[in-house]
């Protein structure tokens, strides 16, 4: 393995960019979001005219670094130097003048406007009457598109283009040597020199992605530095010159792709030592102390019929022929990268995806046409991924947030049973140690951890035989995490079948009895016992052919 110290001179013997000078130097950059250290003293050097990949697991900090370079995030410490000039940090405008551009999924585009309007939005050309001059706008759009894809009609609405071409329009906009709007300083520096691509292929078809990669290669040959943020192994080897791996916000290594293979990259991404990372180990130790280890409950349940049976579940563009089984008392982990279809799988099981086809049986009862209500009645509970968007009712009290899905089961003839509801809320809140001034107070007053507990509390009863958990510990403090781990194991011990989605590998490994891995909506493998390792999960998740699942 070839590892360079980023602040030293480039490694001899690397290919294309060998003679090229360093264009962009990132020195000791750190960035913290609340409790999360997204970047921790990262230093990387980028050369002129290279395609440089930033790789890492979910949350490794690769996107954050890309955005910091583009001026979208302001680093807490450290500096970013472009061609010898330090960048005033955190200013998109400064970065723009220095020639840095970013192309990423969520960047604002107006799908209702034409391609030409989108390309000229920052500075619509006007004629003598102060009206928008369509002709010069179209001319400008043609000039920008000509090099990348002359087939795009500047007059068609952006929203009517397939995602691949929309991405190309974004690149065209990034390549525009416009004088940045409004500012008096007509910088010669507005010439683009560095383009950050943030997961540009994640919504593209294979053919579209190939076209995009060809364009990126072409831009690099013309002398632009392309920073390519992705976790798709194949693309990295196809298009990039060098790769920098980040892990938990820290720099791991920069290597020439010629000198490195997939398995080395994977082990760099997950760390050579497979020990759970420091933050988690306390929680996991606490788990062990509780005496609820993953293997405890499984043996008894092995013979029991599956509590949840999913057969050939398919949903257009989301899931492709997924079949799983979860037994009572078992925790089945679902691994995979963001966008691999994990949440979509849980949505489909719970009956929230009207386009899903296939069979779902809960405790022997078919629920694939029953919708969420049928699923709940059959004993399925779901804690969705985004508690603010999908979970909580911020205008209702804590009590009703807990009891809402169960209210119809407690009610008689549609009239609420206040006493039963209060008893249930008190029991659940006590059991989960929800810390709140009063049950009438609003969930907005609670900490993230306590908010998450409200959602879990909904399903903490013996009627819930199947528990779907999507990132149950995202963004919450370590103490609450420990409590949630305990609850998950307890639920399993009491005979519930748990389907657990988590991007935190140590968590997934510690809690699961078995792990299935999804990649692009397909099940790419199942891991049990010894073979449940971060390395194997990541391999299956990036669909590497190096290790076969079976």
């Amino acid at each position: 393995m070839n590892q360079t110290d980023p602040t030293s001179s480039p490694d001899p013997g690397s290919g294309v960019a060998d003679a090229a000078p360093d264009l962009l130097v990132v020195r000791h950059v750190s960035k913290r979001f609340g409790p999360t250290q997204a970047l921790d003293d990262v230093s990387v050097t980028f050369r002129a005219g290279e395609v440089h990949a930033l790789m890492g697991e979910n949350g490794a900090g690769k996107s954050t670094l890309g955005k910091a370079i583009a001026g979208l995030h302001k680093p807490d410490t450290g500096e970013i130097v472009i061609a010898g000039t330090p960048l005033r940090s955190g200013s998109l405008h400064e970065a723009f003048l220095a020639g840095v551009r970013i192309v990423h999924q969520e960047l604002a585009q107006c799908p209702n406007l034409s391609v030409a309007e989108n390309l000229c939005l920052h500075d619509l050309p006007r004629n003598a009457f102060g009206l928008v001059c369509a002709r010069s706008m179209r001319r400008r759009a043609r000039r920008l598109l000509e090099k990348l894809d002359p087939g795009i009609d500047p007059d068609s609405p952006l929203g009517s283009l397939p995602p691949g071409r929309r991405q190309i329009v974004q690149i065209a906009a990034a390549l525009d040597e416009r004088e940045s709007g409004g500012g008096g300083g007509n910088g010669g520096g507005a010439q683009p020199r560095i383009i950050v691509f943030d997961e540009p292929t994640s919504s593209l078809s294979v053919a579209e992605a190939d076209r995009l990669l060809a364009i990126i290669r072409q831009l690099a040959t013309e002398g632009l530095t392309c920073i390519y943020v992705s976790h798709r192994m194949g693309e990295i080897f196809q298009v990039c010159d060098r790769v920098t791996v980040l892990r938990d916000g820290r720099f791991v290594a920069t290597s020439d792709l010629k000198d490195i293979d997939e398995s080395t990259l994977v082990s760099q991404m997950i760390g050579r030592t497979l020990a759970p990372h420091v933050k988690e180990s306390a929680a996991l130790a606490a788990l062990a102390g509780d005496g609820v280890s993953p293997d405890g409950a499984t043996h008894a349940a092995a013979a029991a019929p599956p509590a949840l049976e999913v057969r050939a579940l398919t949903s257009p563009g989301k899931l492709d022929n997924v079949s799983i089984e979860v037994r009572p008392g078992e925790v089945l982990g679902v691994g995979g990268l963001v966008g691999s279809g994990r949440s979509e799988l849980l949505d489909a099981i719970f009956g929230l995806d009207p386009l899903a086809r296939g069979s779902v049986r809960a405790g022997g009862v078919s629920i694939d046409r029953a919708g969420p209500r049928g699923a709940i009645r059959a004993g399925v509970g779901y804690v969705p991924e985004d508690r603010r968007l999908q979970g909580l009712f911020f205008q209702l009290g804590i009590d009703e947030n807990i009891v809402m899905p169960l209210m119809p089961f407690l009610a008689r003839f549609g009239i609420r049973d206040g006493r039963a509801e209060r008893a249930l809320v008190r029991e659940r809140a006590d059991r989960l140690r929800v810390k709140a001034a009063s049950f009438r107070s609003l969930p907005g007053e609670l900490s993230g951890g306590n908010q998450q507990k409200l959602l879990i509390a909904r399903w903490m009863d013996r009627k819930t035989r199947i528990l779907l958990l999507d990132e149950p510990t995202r963004g919450i403090d370590i103490g609450t995490k420990t409590e949630i781990y305990r609850l998950v194991r307890e639920a399993a011990r009491d005979g519930a079948a748990v389907l657990l989605v988590s991007s935190e590998m140590p968590e997934l490994l510690a809690l699961s009895d078995r792990i299935v891995v999804l990649c692009e909506g397909r099940l790419t493998g199942e891991l049990t016992g010894e073979r449940m390792t971060q390395e194997n999960i990541l391999r299956l998740a990036t669909q590497s052919s190096a290790v076969k699942a079976g």
Binding site: P372, A375, G391, F394, E400, M404, P405, R416
Partner: protein
């Protein structure tokens, strides 16, 4: 059951009643005596234009002053006068009497009954612009059936006529509501659009069905013996119905599963789906209830006035929405109350009545009501922001 919101509205109503009771109307008379020769002999008031000796009667007449002749010490004195209404302090018996107050409540009741349905839709995050038209359509339907009944059986008992009238109006209203709800859910079109269309269609149907003619000849047992029954020297039936509907509405919203689901959907529709709430079905049920309540309001109105026409209730949708909003409902959903909406309707009606009682030009009514609605919402929002900051 009353939250601070509703207590605040009650305080506003009490304040308005207090102020209107203590403000009277005084007619200020300005007069100028004129001689038989039509010249001004004496200027009693400081009328700038009038100087003694001036030949002025025709001039003042042109300005709308009137000529008055009075006996003074056996001599006829001719003068021209203008009368200006002014406001003075003192007990105002024109406002504070049973008939007027019950009348205000009666006028409020049509709006308030509909506002209870509307507030449910608004809590849900929707809107129903068609309530005024549903009101007209169910009113003429009930009136037509009742008129036919009265023709065949003039002495029909109120035990029969009232259930028939209410059932017909309610059925027509709920049918319109089902259409609104099913179209909103099934076609996935924003309820603003669906009910904007419904507003035109339902009134159009009413117009076609009646040929634009007013329908009267309802049985007495439905009108003077029913909704306009005279009890304790007033006609309190609409007011009593308003109170009952407000209480029942408040109970449905707070004590039933349906009611809490309404708040849940309005607060966070995605989370509602994840909590297993049948969002579409709840929406259809609530639109149906809103339509039914518009039908009930029409049944009361028809009974009180003894007739119905396709032009009834035009513009009511905005009054109804205003009542709900003044009563604390948030148009972005998740917040509102049935009692609040009812009190909102009363406040709007008090403004209307106050303007009449104080003798202010009634053309100002809409301006005042409009400003009051905006003020109510702004005050409410400021209050909420303070509450959030204080937290």
């Amino acid at each position: 059951m009353l939250a601070s919101q509703e207590l605040g509205l009650l305080a506003v109503i009490a304040l308005m009643i207090g102020v209107l009771s203590l403000l009277g109307v005084r007619d200020t008379v300005r007069s100028v005596h004129v001689s038989p020769s039509d010249t001004i002999t004496e200027s009693a008031d400081a009328v700038a234009l009038a100087r003694p000796g001036e030949h002025a009667e025709s001039f003042f007449r042109a300005q709308g002053w009137r000529v008055v002749e009075r006996e003074r010490d056996g001599v006829t004195v001719r003068s021209i006068e203008s009368v200006t209404r002014g406001i003075r302090f003192g007990f105002n018996e024109r406002f504070f009497n049973t008939a007027n107050l019950v009348g205000v409540a009666k006028d409020a009741s049509f709006i308030a009954v509909m506002a209870v349905g509307m507030v449910a839709i608004i809590i849900l995050g929707g809107i129903d612009l068609s309530v005024g038209s549903i009101y007209a359509l169910s009113g003429v339907a009930a009136a037509a059936v009742l008129a036919r009944l009265a023709e065949s059986n003039p002495g029909i008992s109120s035990l029969f006529s009232i259930p028939v009238g209410v059932a017909v109006a309610g059925a027509v209203g709920s049918a319109c509501g089902v259409v609104n709800g099913a179209a909103t859910v099934g076609l996935r079109v924003h309820p603003f659009i669906i009910t904007l269309g419904g507003m035109a269609v339902y009134r159009g149907v009413a117009f076609v069905a009646t040929d634009g003619q007013s329908i009267s000849g309802l049985p007495d047992s439905y009108t003077s013996g029913g909704f306009k029954a005279n009890l304790w020297g007033a006609n309190p039936v609409p007011m009593l119905i308003m109170v009952v509907v407000a209480i029942v509405g408040a109970m449905v919203l707070s004590l039933t599963v349906l009611g809490r689901r309404t708040f849940a959907i309005g607060g966070n529709e995605t989370a509602a789906r994840y909590a297993g709430i049948p969002v579409g079905r709840v929406k259809i049920v609530l639109f149906t209830l809103c339509g039914t309540l518009a039908g009930f309001a029409a049944a009361i109105n028809t009974g009180y006035y003894g007739s119905a026409s396709s032009g009834d209730g035009s513009g009511y949708e905005l009054r109804v929405i205003a009542a709900a909003v003044v009563g604390g409902a948030s148009l972005s959903g998740g917040r509102g109350s049935a009692i609040g909406a009812t009190l909102g309707a009363v406040i709007i009606q008090l403004i209307d009545n106050g303007i009449v009682v104080l003798g202010v030009d009634s053309n100002y009514t809409n301006i005042v009501i409009g400003l009051a609605i905006v003020a109510a919402v702004v005050i409410d929002q400021v209050k909420h922001r303070w509450a959030t900051v204080a937290r």
